[in-house]
Amino acid sequence: MSTRLTTGGARIARNKPVTFTFNGKTLKGFEGDTLASALLANDQMLMGRSFKYHRPRGVVASGAEEPNALMNMGEGGKFEPNQRATTTELFDGLVAQSQNHWPSLEVDVGVVNNAMARFLPAGFYYKTFTFPKFAWKHVYEPIIRKSAGLGKAPTERDVDTYEHFYFFADVVVIGGGIAGLQAAKTAALSGAKVLIMEQDPAWGGRAVVDGGMLGEVPAADYVSALVAELEGMDNVTMRNRMMGAGVYDHGYVTGYERLRDHAPEMAGPRHRLWRIRAGQIITATGAIERPLSFAGNDVPGVMLAAALRDYLVMYGVSVGDRVVVVTNNDDAYRTAIAVKKAGLDVPVILDARAEGGGAIAGEARALGIRVENGKAIAKVTGGKRVKSVKICAQAGEGGVLEEIECDAVAMSGGFSPVVHLWSHCGGKLTWDEEHAMFRPDAERPPKGANGEGFVVPAGAANGVLDMGVGLADGDHAGRLAVEALGLKAADANLPAFDQAVEAPLAEVWMMPQGAGPKLRAKAWLDYQNDVKVSDVQLAAQEGYESVEHTKRYTTLGMATDQGKLSNINGLAVLSHALDKPIPATGTTTFRPPYTPISMGSIAGEARGDVFQPLRRTPMHDWHEANGAHWEPVGHWRRAYCYLQGEETPHEAVSREILATRKSLGLLDASTLGKLIVKGPDAGKFMDMMYTNMMSSLKPGKCRYGLMCSENGFLSDDGVVVRLEDESFLCHTTTGGAERIHAHMEEWLQTEWWDWEVYVTNVTEQWAQVGVVGPNSRKVLEKLGGVDVSKETLAFMEYTQGKLGAFDARIFRISFAGELSYEIAVPASQGAALWDALYEAGEEFGVTPYGTEAMHVMRAEKGFIMIGDETDGTIIPQDLGLNWAISKKKEDFLGKRAQKRAFMDNPERWQLVGLETTDGSVIPDGAYCVAEGDNANGQRNVQGRVTSTYYSPTLGKGIAMGLLHDGPNRMGEVVSFPGTDGKSYEAKVVSPVFYDPDGEKQNV
């Protein structure tokens, strides 16, 4: 059984006990524990169930690579699934539940899949669910959906907050082991601004666990001194609990800092995503030990050798009393020695190498440990924990020589450098035959903005596994990085060290090498996704030669751990099955993030009220207080209508329209874009921007204008006012101001840069109110000031001056077809103007109206709306707007394009009005059908609806639409099938439904 030893455990504080619960059971651990070490200390070997076969699984690793010990963590608004027990720091009150089982971890019905494993091989999804056809929807899919996914989905909103942080450094070191710390020191001594991050709460990496001497001092002391030295340097920023998540173009690095996972009760953001720009990046990310592929290598109690050593040394936890060690390299001997020295038993070390280990093997033997060379594990017995191992010759097919009882197995298949961050942005790898590993190819680094490499690997991440050499490699990386930045590398005094003399590793991809089908089907490669050696071999046999295809067919490496333990073993098995060398098979692509990061950290501050900017007009608060039913228009919030009492939005819109047409309406038009175009060449420029002749507009006059793209398509419209001889005010659509401003600047800066014109966006300087209806003039006259009489301020004229207490610009323009004015005042006076107009209008029954009433009223008048009548493929000629296209002008944007054959073409659909024969409202987006079918057997179409409303003014449905040869078909009745099964019959009419002669707006 696994237990806490009475001594040892460099990380835990035995005087600080911590209480937590696992699957409802209350357990105890110590401050400094991880959840995994605390569970092991409580003899909780079983930590979860695998995804596909629901096999019992225990923890196999001690760090970020852990595939098995995934937990549903926390409760309510702090719940999060798939958290690795190995990287979860224990805190008082932690609540964890194991995943992927029912009804309980110990008794799981889903384990029936395990018995069926023979019938669920790789690709069984693709093979099984195709027949019979009906079964997919009714049988297979519901079952698959139920079993899909690991862990539970959260049901409550995340109560925590998250943030980003932008940071800049000359050198960013990822990984705070001995190589990273030394690299940071060398770079910092050379004068670089350095950031070093470590995903773990503690610095020093493996050196602290494995000990040894650096110069005259033990490794752990050396690390402490290095850390203290770095902490004392002004140009160094040190962050632990921060993982290098991704490396991207031009030195962009993301750092995932876990601020409150270990202390959730403290105020402040839970995670912080650092968005770092680095001159040079040093990846000192260490290496990950590989499992060995033998039958039963997933039984709880089988663990990576170095992980088992971690639990012993760092947390004082024994995984078992009798630990069998199986290895193909010297490193695992350290585990055997550590176990033995802790007073526990190592019945045997099985070294798959015929020649056995180096000096360290002698050391083990001297401690009385039995060492067997050329031996392997044929099989591990046990269900929910290890009972024994059956020993065989590695060279054979698995004939059992001996069975040894034990309760833990420490395995080591060699190490794989963590090359992920090196590879994220295109760093290439080379195959190191000697150590059987892919390591960074220094000749082919990822390249940055200047075309030079910007990532330097260091230490174990560079394939240098020896501690002393790793330290020197860290120094070397630091030097390379600062020299790439043009600095002179400073000399760091490195300690003298003895490089350990090791026997070479032997490639062992299958154990034993001749394992038969029965053993291969129980030799796990990918623990989390239940991919076995036999699955990869099956994929190869079925023709999946590319590693990327094999990955997807078998799901190898597609789990939340992204194959940190399985990828190299898997592709070695694939290579052997294909009879290709491993480098020829290649690796799958390493993509960020290195381990999963929280969605919250990616979103940062962008959630809740500030998920996105909501733009507010100066009168926003009044609308809010007076029943506004909001509508998003771009990022703006506009009132769709104002609800009174129990009325529906539809009823409110009708009320607002009737009241406005009868007497007086108010519209907050502040969102309309307002651009000032000024300069000696302003007239010339306006003529290019608009289809209309704008240079002939007289100061004080207004003109409705159209803007097209060079492609000829209508892009915006609005009223242009000539303020002065050299100055125009251009109104754009709501939300169009930035776009049109950019459009104008683009032409001025990149085509006509010699023209003397300036443009400024003054949209938000002005609050603008539409005063609309037969009584609008009376209200303005009541406020007093500027003369707004018919004689002084005619339709389409502009004036400015005092309106009551306000500095106002007054435009006599109309979008509703009534007598109306738009009053603009500085935004700081907007709310007061609205109040004044409302108060003055009360005797006329003033009615504020929203965007929907505005839309309906403009449709009643046959005015087009950008985005309704246009969709980026519509030219003004389609909409009967030829009158607004100057024929005198030689050039304007879009003119040439509109001469193209398919633009200047009577076959194009044209704007018409549509009046349903029964008064109903045609559904939005309905198409007008024609006779016959097209080549696809679909009904031919001859037009479509662009705007459709119930008109309270006319008491019936009205619509505008585009129809083939429309203007020549007045009076004809055409059909619009709805998605409701009904067909809507409509008469083709003029689009101007209301006051066709414009008498009402001209009074």
Binding site: D249, K447, A449, E710, N711, E746, W753, R896, A897
Partner: protein, 109 residues
């Protein structure tokens, strides 16, 4: 995510401050031009693997348009320069030649 230097305000900023505007050095053809010229102007674009000239706007910044010479394969930036020019300036061309001898792009080399 790229970093670019705006030649107008001198800021070296990340891509989120900028907005890409497609190919640079395009000659406008207006009314009276042939269909072929107009088609080339409006639609025909280079799609090189390697040296490319682009327009960018410092949209979250000084608002100015500028040009960038860039490698589409390695994302190396050879230089940025004013948008108010008909061709890449000599120092930009030299910078490219130093890194990509024998390069050519449309009529430039």
């Amino acid at each position: 995510m790229l970093i670019l230097e705006c030649p107008y305000c001198g800021v070296t900023g990340e891509e989120t401050e900028f907005h890409g505007g497609g190919e640079a050095h395009i000659k406008r053809f207006g009314p009276g031009s042939s269909d072929a010229d107009f088609e080339t102007y409006l639609f025909m674009r280079e799609n090189p693997k390697g040296v490319h000239f682009e327009r960018w706007r410092h949209v979250n910044g000084c608002g100015k348009w500028f040009h960038a010479a860039r490698c589409t394969m390695t994302l190396e930036v050879f230089g940025t320069y004013s948008a108010q020019t008909f061709e890449p300036p000599k120092e930009i061309k030299d910078a490219i030649s130093a890194k990509r001898p024998g390069w050519s792009w449309r009529e430039f080399s």
